[in-house]
Assembly symmetry: C2
Homo-oligomer: 314 residues x 2
């Protein structure tokens, strides 16, 4: 089951870090993309090849340091079928390297349409009795706006295939409060969603005591995270906003339970494009090493912050 | 601009009908899929070919009767790259037949990630100065949970490429009220979203007086539609829930303004899989004709209901 595998990986690697694989071609080092542009021109094919090579090098360098990777599908989807092929191959490679994969897809729709997304990204699609895997990863992110019944559609595949999902509760963007922070009968909208998540978490508990239904809770709003930690005690938090988006290790301590578990912290640009920080002596030739160094620093900073707060999971 | 083209198509064809192209392989006639299963086995390739042939026949039969088609991407995505290839080819074929295309993708994410979705589904993706089209259609559906700033990310491509979007306001599923109907300081959440939409509509007005930023407002909740019509006077409604989901022509009259414009009504299963209604004399061999007949009936029923209410756009 996803959540048991996640907690096992966290403990074995002593790391709560998730690396976001968000490949923007404009940020991929010239030493990588230059070759493919020479070979294929400025085409979708060249971009897809460059992304895959780049991701593999990042994965090789961080696979023993991070618990999971989180490819953001939008950055692949924009490059069409070629880009999505790179998404599939990236996930396959990460799997081979022993990593768990959280597909950041933020899907959500009504009834059988949500089920189609579940089939695509968690389970299998059935063709008259023959099962096929398409984009299946270990866990995904989903959007709750359409209501609890639409989230329920994912539960069957989560249980059947041992997968997981993180429901958007409180996102990291500046305007996230516009809807999510509104107050309904003394409760904020994100708390209403948290109740849906907590309800679903009871149906998807792992042997580790946590649930395969988690929540996206941004590090950029630490006060809200504190409240939410209490309302979803069994749910893992997938926490965006660390590093490039502004949150520090101290900001995310409240996302964890007293047992030091309950959260994974994502960083994307701050790790994968670390090579740009030339002041640290990083170079584009060694972008993989730069990513590894930043992932190690992030892991250690988080563990230190947890330790200072008496939240050791090791 | 999208909205001007849409209103033109509605007036020329005297039709507010949108056909949802939601191909479930289990519902595609044996006469179509049987051949591909024989040729390719029960593979993704066979499904993709069957879907494309099926969609083309539907498009051929309804292209002069409906204003737009709305492929639901989840039903293609579940069949992987092959399925998405069928999505792209379906959109291309519909375009050739003079139809507008609304990609029912329900995407939404933060900042640059939303922009990546906009590039993928509305505009172009830039590869160091070379522009490529990937999944670009005329208009898409988007999810507002992340806030107004994330919707803004689509506006640039809407204006630059003359495209459109429909923001989820009130969806058709039974549980849509769980979040959308909550009351905040006297206003329901869907009304708060409606205000965001109305605000964005001012930035995207066409010469027809309507905006390229519209709203998804379900036919299954006519009372809410009535209120929403007033709060988004410039926005077109994309109305799901007709037919198979239970709403009738009379239910959707309040989605229209007094000028008889302001809404397009979607039906998916009720039209494309009409051939199953053997009591009407339809056969699987003539599934295209069955779809045409149902689309015509729907067009006429809606126009009649509009006429009875003094809302003639012709």
């Amino acid at each position: 089951m996803f959540i048991d595998e996640l907690v096992k990986a966290i403990k074995e690697k002593r790391s709560n870090v998730v690396v976001g694989l968000d490949p923007r071609i404009e940020s991929i080092p010239e030493v990588v993309k230059g070759r493919y542009f020479n070979q294929y021109g400025k085409t979708l094919k060249a971009v897809a090849e460059a992304i895959l090579e780049f991701n593999k090098e990042i994965i090789d360098n961080v696979c023993d340091v991070v618990a999971a990777v989180k490819p953001q599908i939008a950055f692949y989807e924009q490059y069409g079928l070629e880009g999505l092929d790179a998404y599939i191959k990236t996930c396959k490679y990460a799997k081979e390297k022993g990593l768990l994969i959280i597909g950041d897809i933020k899907r959500g729709d009504i009834g059988t349409t949500s089920k189609a997304y579940a089939n695509a990204h968690l389970g299998n699609v059935d063709i008259e009795g023959v099962e096929h895997e398409t984009f299946a990863v270990d866990s995904i992110t989903v959007n709750p706006y359409l209501g609890g019944d639409t989230l329920e559609e994912f539960i069957e595949d989560i249980n059947e295939f041992g997968k997981g999902m993180f429901v958007l509760v409180k996102t990291s963007n500046p305007g996230s409060g516009q809807l999510q922070d509104l107050v309904v009968e003394g409760k904020r909208i994100y708390e209403v969603v948290a109740e849906m998540v907590d309800n679903l978490s009871q149906k998807t508990l792992g042997t580790c005591g946590y649930s395969s239904v988690g929540a996206v809770v941004a590090a950029t709003y630490p006060e809200q995270a504190k409240t939410l930690r209490k309302s979803m005690p069994k749910s893992y938090f997938l926490v965006p906003g660390y590093g490039a988006q502004g949150a520090s290790a101290d900001d995310i301590v409240d996302c964890f339970n007293e047992d030091g578990l309950g959260a994974v912290i994502n960083s994307s640009r701050g790790i994968i494009f670390a090579y740009k920080k030339s002041e640290k002596g990083y170079t584009q030739e060694k972008y993989g090493e730069a990513a590894r160094k930043e992932a190690l620093d992030m892991r250690d900073a988080i563990n230190k912050a947890l330790e200072s707060n008496g939240k050791c999971y090791w």
